[in-house]
């Protein structure tokens, strides 16, 4: 079974890279200590770039080999590799 089913994130597009940007959802009961959770994530390899306190999310990047360790940090409920977004429109006339 592939990564997304086994580990809860999507591996598409990251296999050729050694490092990925990630979004980490902090568990509801750990949101009050989100900075402590961030510190533990940094200790297991997260290069922490942002803390989104109002939605309980940490942003950063991590070596792919450290994804499992990140997922196992107490207070982390989900880890996802960053996706790219595009607009949902396909016809313009001015």
């Amino acid at each position: 079974m592939m990564g997304r089913f086994a580990f809860g994130w999507d591996r598409r597009g990251i296999d050729a890279a050694s490092r990925a940007n990630v979004a980490i959802a902090v568990a509801e009961d750990a949101r009050g200590r989100i900075y402590e959770v961030a510190a533990v994530c940094k200790a297991v390899g997260l290069e922490h770039t942002s803390t989104l306190t109002d939605i309980g999310v940490l942003l950063g990047s991590v070596e792919l080999d450290d994804l499992l360790s990140l997922r196992a940090v107490p207070g982390v409920v989900a880890v996802e590799v960053e996706r790219e977004f595009r607009l949902k429109q396909f016809l313009w006339s001015r």
Binding site: L52, D54, R83, F85, R86, Q89, F90, L91
Partner: protein
């Protein structure tokens, strides 16, 4: 057509989807390949091949009756079985999430440049832009609504906004960029367009009225660059900002395609649920990858999250737009639809006005209507506002998984 009397004719029957004669089986996310094979062989009595055994792509069209293919990466299988076999699989609850007739789908490719034209179901039902208002405002009843969204904060997460557009003069607009190196000024046009549909002026300088919540406060976050591309980090930062500013409505006309069989992203679902709890309703497009009736693609990410309102598009006859994605994946159905073909709105200076098509255009329409509902029901925020939005609709004849509750309607 007079103002305030949007056509209430329902379109004709939605074209029947093209079924292939096969069945698609979706397994639970925790089920491994061996267990899936056991179910297919022992419960349904099928002869099953595994897709990774094929040299090159597996070819479902070579299946004989009683045979199936297990797609290990998708957690799904295709089978050419009789109805009893399909029923037996559907009853394997806990292991099998869904058994559905296979439809032609295009999993993840965005359409560009071409617009399939839906045949209007009835000439009577056609709505048209008038000198006074766009057809979308007529279809949603926004023209006759006594509400303007006053006191309601609406966030537009997009390519920024042209704050100096004459139609936004005198409006409360807060803008913030979450894209490194770029300001919140819109050099693409998509963000200004969406801001215009959701919250544009009641009396534009040189165009029919195109905006719904003309009294709402606008919070525009740039989360996409000038090439209309962004990342999760940008979008999540924008959502966080909107929640912090107590925006009751968050319009996000963006997405990325998913595969049939994909589940929704857990981080986004957590975020959307938290936003709802904080009083912010996230709204996103179903996506434009379908070519109905032959091909239907699944609802894009992040609209596929259950806590996000997923928006499909209809045309001027209130028929589902041929490109509008559908509810193929469990939990990722379309919630509502809104006008999404030939929609006119604001453009950054010097153009001032533009017309566009897509589920992107339907999203700010829903956001505008949600803002009116929020003003009319000051205690309805978050999940309560979502419930109200899904209740205040005009039911359509399209299937619920593709059109949700129906066409959004402004409070009267």
């Amino acid at each position: 057509m007079p103002f305030g009397t949007p056509t209430r004719h329902l379109p004709g029957a939605f074209p029947t989807r093209r079924a292939t004669g096969l069945h698609l089986v979706l397994f639970g996310a925790g089920l491994d390949s061996a267990a899936s094979l056991t179910i297919l062989r022992n419960i349904a009595g099928l002869r099953v091949a595994v897709s990774s055994d094929f040299q090159g792509p597996a070819a479902p069209d070579c299946l004989a009756p009683g045979e199936g293919i297990l797609f290990e990466r998708l957690g799904a299988a295709l089978l050419l079985g009789d109805p009893d076999q399909a029923r037996a699989l559907a009853q394997a609850r806990g292991s099998v999430l869904r058994v559905v007739p296979e439809r032609c789908v295009r999993p993840n490719t965005l359409m560009t440049n071409t617009v399939p034209q839906a045949e209007p179901a009835s000439q009577e039902a056609l709505l048209t832009d008038t000198a006074f208002a766009t057809w979308g405002l007529q279809a949603t009843g926004a023209l006759s609504s006594p509400y303007s969204g006053r006191g309601v904060r609406v966030a537009i997460l997009d390519t920024g906004v042209d704050r100096g557009h004459p139609d936004f003069a005198g409006r409360n607009i807060v803008a913030q960029s979450f894209v490194a190196g770029l300001s919140a000024e819109d050099a693409n046009g998509h963000g200004t367009f969406c801001a215009g549909v959701a919250c544009g002026s009641r009396a534009p300088r040189d165009a029919p009225r195109y905006g719904i919540a003309h009294g709402a406060d606008l919070f525009c976050a740039r989360v996409l660059d000038d090439t209309a591309t962004g990342t999760d980090g940008n979008v999540l930062a924008g959502i966080d900002w909107a929640v912090r500013h107590e925006c009751a409505v968050v319009s996000m006309s963006l997405g990325s395609p998913v595969f049939v069989g994909d589940s929704y992203p857990e981080v986004y679902e957590q975020v959307a649920a938290r936003a709802l709890a904080a009083g912010s309703l996230l709204i996103a497009p179903a996506g434009n990858s379908s070519s109905r009736p032959d091909e239907i693609a699944p609802v894009d990410h992040p609209a596929n999250c259950p806590s996000v309102v997923a928006v499909g598009a209809v045309d001027r006859s209130l028929t589902l737009a041929p490109f509008s994605n559908g509810g193929l994946n469990p939990g990722a159905e379309v919630d509502v639809v809104a006008p999404g073909i030939a929609i006119s709105s604001a453009a950054p200076r010097p153009s001032l006005y533009q017309t566009a098509t897509g589920t992107s255009m339907a999203v700010p329409c829903v956001a505008g209507v949600a803002a009116l509902l929020a003003e009319a029901n000051p205690r309805a925020r978050g999940a309560a506002l979502k419930a109200l939005l899904l209740k205040t609709v005009l039911a359509l004849s399209a299937p619920a998984c593709d059109a949700g509750a129906g066409l959004v309607q402004a409070p009267q």
